[in-house]
Assembly symmetry: C2
Homo-oligomer: 417 residues x 2
């Protein structure tokens, strides 16, 4: 297949990584009242009403009353196998179970001959344009892919390291128990610089939940890494996996260092059991990541948050063969979650926005994020009446800044290719 | 509240209702191979490869290989109470049941002091920009609204009658049994030109399913009108209503003239009973309309279609106080339905597009719709590899034509305000 050149993305003039001091006037932090923000050397100096123009050639941006949010945090991506910028290949998967889709998406990906380096750059640039400043991405670790996915995403991370924070998870989509090569590859991926150990459906993938989880937790313990496990298993089978994960988290003292992604089972079990699972999650400070999904119950995000469980939000794979319908935009993801969970009230949408910003940054371990003097100037500006209207209208991002550098304007990534 | 002037929508120069003959070159009907389309006096003359330029000043549009679809049909709208172009009012509804939402949305609508005339114009213009050529819209009939909604939408329909086909349903959102004034208002609405009789949740709204349905069917029979009933009732209660509706359809000989909208219950009952309901729907030629929904099971559209039941698709209320998250674009609606119903294959998406075009036009009674010589030139052009990619990327509509008149280009409605 012809691959469009990524240089077709307009190469904007005037971009400079060194310009990271400016005054942003007339914005409304979190949709509140009008203020100005002064940024020096990429650090927030002051947020106040009517800051005087510091002059001396410092750039000034006019916000016109737009809303200022901290940068979006996409806590669950698959940068290495999207189909952005590629003509849509027909999806003719014969069935739609997870196993069928894993096999089918591998087959299509291999057939297209795409590059994880090129595709991850495409998603990173689209993410920057959408005001995303942080991504946690799961990278495929499996023998038939070799290290093409790992190296592609590591190269992209290096190239964009000043412009977006990317944390990587070594993701053994095919399991680890049945194939010793995968476990060796996971080790090698951690040695090459991947930060977290991934896992997937411990009972259904390799028919050996204890074997799978012990391998993953053992690896994370040995390398001192965090864990983020895909868990699609339904009902009581998924809940059993949550229990096993919580037991290992406690045993290894990994509280606060384990995330479970998707966790549809939390939307399926009955209330008394759900309450028990919630206690386990809270006690072991296990984070739940939800990207939504169309045809399955979802974790009850509001109940989890109100119960003291940390919840973050991601896009999951975007424009990929799984369905193709996920977009890179976290506002679109929040809309989908609100739609599925029947969140209509503005305060419910504000909660989801909090998870997609401040909470997500905490999960990704960024201590320097947020609207306080001394923190990094990672933020995004867009027009809107209030926070819910941002999710309804999904306006182009007026400006996006990373460490004080203007990385996107009017919905376009400004970074030269 | 300040209402933005609808004249702020750019008043394009050069628009003419009289120019309805043209040659459209290099498009791909339904995503197939390249062809040209010749239109004279608003009627498709020829669809063929390499049609010669007819000259004599006839306009020519270059398609550049874009996809040509017949105009989208939105089979379920609420033109009279959207919040398009209005700053988002906070939603602080205390609960989220249907009854709560009906009460709350009335309260907000009344408080905002908006005009159904202005709001329906906004939605009609946005719909035209999105390539929609036909709308069925439910209009609120209830004593506290008087005829403001009816008159507002009737005026909008008259003003845009050459540019979009609008069919109206008199919609007694509060029921008809408990309030004799509503029944009188329904009659009056039909006398003023509304084509269809609406209804809603016959058991739960007024606690008298037979009274509700007999009133509605009696009215439709007396006036010779079609019926379109909102049915949100779950499980066996909803299924009971389907049975009652089918009995009355048969008794009055109204086969092919009754639609049930939403019908979540079809996604909730067990298979043997579902099969019985499907038989009732097919035998009585009752149409099912689905607009999707986030937090409830949905009718199994593919199974219904494969069983010979007619299914059409609508947006439901857009940017309204119910959730705010529905958009006017039928491609967005198809994406939502695919997401909810786990339709991933391209042929499943193509089926949904068929429902949102050809099937919808048949439900709305348009005999002159479709890609055949002699039919009206109601169609829309947009770039894409294939039909599913349109739903994934939702590109701006390159051109939209209604009866051969160019009504939108590059995603904007061209009609002067």
């Amino acid at each position: 297949m012809d691959q469009p050149d990524i240089k077709d993305i307009a190469n904007k003039s005037g971009f400079s990584k060194k310009e990271n001091s400016f005054l942003l006037k007339n914005i409304r932090p979190m949709g509140s009242t009008i203020a100005d923000v002064l940024v020096r050397d990429g650090i927030i100096q002051q947020i106040a009403v009517g800051i005087n123009d510091p002059g001396k050639g410092m750039a000034t941006f006019e916000g016109n009353g737009a809303i200022l949010l901290p940068g979006f945090v996409n806590a669950h991506a698959h940068l290495d196998d999207n189909l952005l910028g590629v003509p849509w290949p027909r999806n003719e998967v014969p069935a739609s179970g997870i196993e069928d889709m894993i096999a089918y998406s591998r087959e299509v990906w291999m057939g297209l001959g795409l590059s994880s380096r090129v595709q991850s750059v495409r998603q990173v640039r689209a993410s920057i344009a959408a005001g995303i400043t942080h991504i946690r991405s799961h990278v495929h670790i499996q023998p038939d892919y070799g290290f093409e996915h790992v190296e592609g995403v590591l190269q992209t991370r290096e190239a964009y390291k000043d412009l977006i924070d990317i944390q990587l998870v070594a993701f053994p989509q095919l399991g680890v128990v049945s194939d010793p090569d995968t476990l060796k590859m996971l080790e090698e991926a951690l040695n090459r610089g991947i930060e977290c150990v991934g896992g997937i459906d411990p009972s259904s993938r390799n028919r050996d939940p204890v074997g799978h989880l012990n391998a993953i937790f053992g690896l994370a313990d040995r390398f001192g890494k965090e864990i983020d496990i895909h868990l699609h298993e339904p009902g009581d089978l998924g809940a059993f996996a949550v229990e096993l994960i919580a037991e290992r988290t406690r045993a290894l003292g990994m509280q606060g260092r384990v995330t479970i992604s998707h966790v549809f089972c939390l939307g399926m079990v009955e209330d008394p059991y759900l309450d028990k699972l919630i206690d386990l999650l809270r006690e072991n400070r296990i984070t739940i990541q939800s990207a939504g999904a169309g045809g399955t119950p979802l974790p009850p995000i509001k109940k989890l948050v109100e119960s003291g469980v940390t919840v973050c939000i991601g896009t999951d794979g975007v424009r990929d063969i799984w369905s193709g319908f996920n977009s890179v935009d976290m506002l679109d993801r929040i809309r989908m979650l609100a739609y599925r969970l029947r969140y209509k009230r503005d305060d419910e949408i504000e909660m989801l926005l909090e998870l997609a910003t401040n909470t997500g940054a905490r999960v990704l371990g960024d201590q320097n994020y947020g609207f306080e003097p001394g923190r990094k100037a990672d933020f995004v500006v867009m027009p809107g009446t209030n926070l819910k209207e941002l999710v309804i209208d999904q306006p182009k991002r007026t400006y996006a800044f990373k460490r004080g550098v203007l990385v996107a304007a009017n919905g376009e990534c400004l970074i030269p290719v």
